[in-house]
Symmetry: C2
């Protein structure tokens, strides 16, 4: 129960105060948000909801029991997280990646961090399938020729029987594999540690070198930062394509641009970038053979509602003292796998 601040650090646990009901005992839920706001319908009146933006987060964080990071583009949590003193017992981010909020202080604390695991799997997998098929069928060129009113028949590629190397063995990577397999693509999944059906990182180079499609869906961690670099693009087949739906920082963008310009590889698609949004002056817009999309691979109609509903459901578990799903391993920077 809380009704003032500052206050001494509490014994931190992932469950709500035992006396979670009653007027004076309401939990304070702080939402770091940008428009549009999440729909938290069922929680209205049950929870004291406060809002913060980048400028007010540091001030409001100490009096919050729960922080909902709705604006996943913001790095404000990392900057505002208190090294000591009162702090939320639970932080939920409405995103799959947690790189935008993790910092040593949060990792060291006993605050529980959860993510939106599950919401984006299928949309992102479909998006990857859309890019694979669009590139195989030469659709970007078809659009160019249509604009020029030019009938030019080309041969396209059969997707069935090609090989994909999917990097990132979380639910998104696994759903990508499942979707590509349904299109009769031969797949290899690479994760942080080898286990049944998943190759370890030591096999990445070998698998990349024989892949027609290399798909990056890894979490951004110290181990994965800049992993797709000149050396790795250099080892891919000249006919191969690279797709990144993970995080922009997984890719050395200059190396990818050079690999495409020099035709080390045949094409690429980036949905995520080191700096988002990409400014109009970015050279990436014009790199030959590169498809640029605005970080939208997981965002199908209704995604905000789904994220809101997921949080409400998790909140009710937390309030009831039941264990939370999607708990992030804060040292590793992702939810450990199955």
């Amino acid at each position: 129960m809380r009704n003032g601040f500052p206050r001494p650090p509490r014994p931190v646990s992932a469950s709500a105060p035992a006396s979670g009901s009653g007027a004076g005992s309401r939990t304070t839920l702080l939402v770091l948000d940008a428009e549009p706001l999440p729909r938290l319908g069922r929680l209205t009146g049950r929870v004291r909801i406060e809002h913060a933006d980048e400028s007010t987060l540091a001030e409001r964080l100490p009096r919050a029991d729960v922080l909902l990071v709705w604006d996943f583009t913001s790095h404000a949590v990392r900057r505002a997280w208190p090294g000591e003193g009162p702090r939320p017992r639970w932080v939920h981010t409405a995103s799959a990646g947690v790189d935008h909020l993790m910092c040593p202080e949060l990792a060291a604390s006993d605050t529980v961090v959860t993510n939106a695991r599950g919401i984006f799997d299928r949309p992102i997998a479909e998006y990857v399938a859309a890019l694979v098929l669009a590139m195989a069928k030469d659709l970007p060129r078809t659009w160019d020729l249509q604009r020029q009113r030019e009938w030019r028949h080309r041969e396209s590629q059969r997707v069935a029987g090609t090989r994909a190397c999917v990097v990132g063995s979380g639910p998104i990577g696994r759903t990508i594999v499942k979707t590509l397999k349904a299109l009769e693509v031969t797949t290899a999944l690479v994760g942080r540690t080898a286990r049944t059906g998943i190759h370890g990182p030591e096999e990445l180079d070998r698998l990349m070198a024989r892949a027609d499609w290399v798909v990056s869906a890894a979490p951004l961690t110290e181990a994965t930062y800049g992993m797709f670099d000149a050396r790795r693009f250099g080892m891919m087949q000249p006919s191969a394509r690279f797709i990144n739906v993970g995080r922009g920082q997984l890719v050395v963008e200059e190396a990818l641009a050079e690999a495409l310009s020099k035709r080390w590889i045949a094409g690429a698609a980036l949905d995520v970038f080191q700096d988002e949004p990409l400014g109009p002056d970015s050279p990436l817009w014009g790199v030959p053979g590169l498809i640029v999309s605005p970080h939208m691979s997981g965002d199908t109609v209704g995604w905000r509602d789904e994220l809101g509903a997921q949080f409400v459901e998790m909140y009710e578990r937390w309030e009831a003292g039941r264990p939370l799903p999607n708990v992030v391993d804060k040292k590793r920077g992702y939810v450990p796998g199955h």
Copy 2:
């Protein structure tokens, strides 16, 4: 056995002369072709191969045992087919559709007609999946925005759970259904006659009216000519998209253009047209929401070799007196289904 012309009509059968070997007894294979020529490697030396184009076909047809219609864009067979007298006993077309060669005289004759059933199924199904996913994920707009160097996030559509109505229950339509099902699309297949897993034409209107995707993969026959008209586009959902990979004449193009302009439907993709190639002055290039591609959905790298190999294999069966596969029902205008 033949070594001269003209000659009296033979008793026509689908099998080769019994004395098919020996120098004087060689079969004459006439190829109606445009560049590039098919690779008929194994037949070299075993068969007398002649070539014809549109201007020489009528003259050369009577002395041919077998006609290979390699140039499937030509309607020359229809014009040149002899009403009487000697004629090939077997006509094979390197295409799925036979509309370009069927005529009353050929239908009435006992010449066997076969098609390239099987070669295009998987490529066309992948092409349809590419279009479905590209439209769901708004890829054409992504390309436009990239050219304008504009970062504009949009919500896209989830494909899983949408409904497709596929018209045409031959191997191409069935493979489209299989591929869309693999993407978790709910599918309905409509054929000329209702049977297990296939709806009859009387159900088409009802199924089209509730579909998110209407895919045309029917053969062109008298019954299907112009079947996608203003009435049918008017009954589709405003959010629905139409895809034609069958034949251009299945669609009333003006009606589709109007349906798109008036937003009766959300989008369309045509790979086939009433007049091919589409001239630069065609209004279709500029219809809003219409994707135009140059009759390439089935043509993956190596398709010509596959068509050539398929014909060589069929020729060897024919030469050995074994029954031919892919025999077209000349009254119906397609290979009857399974």
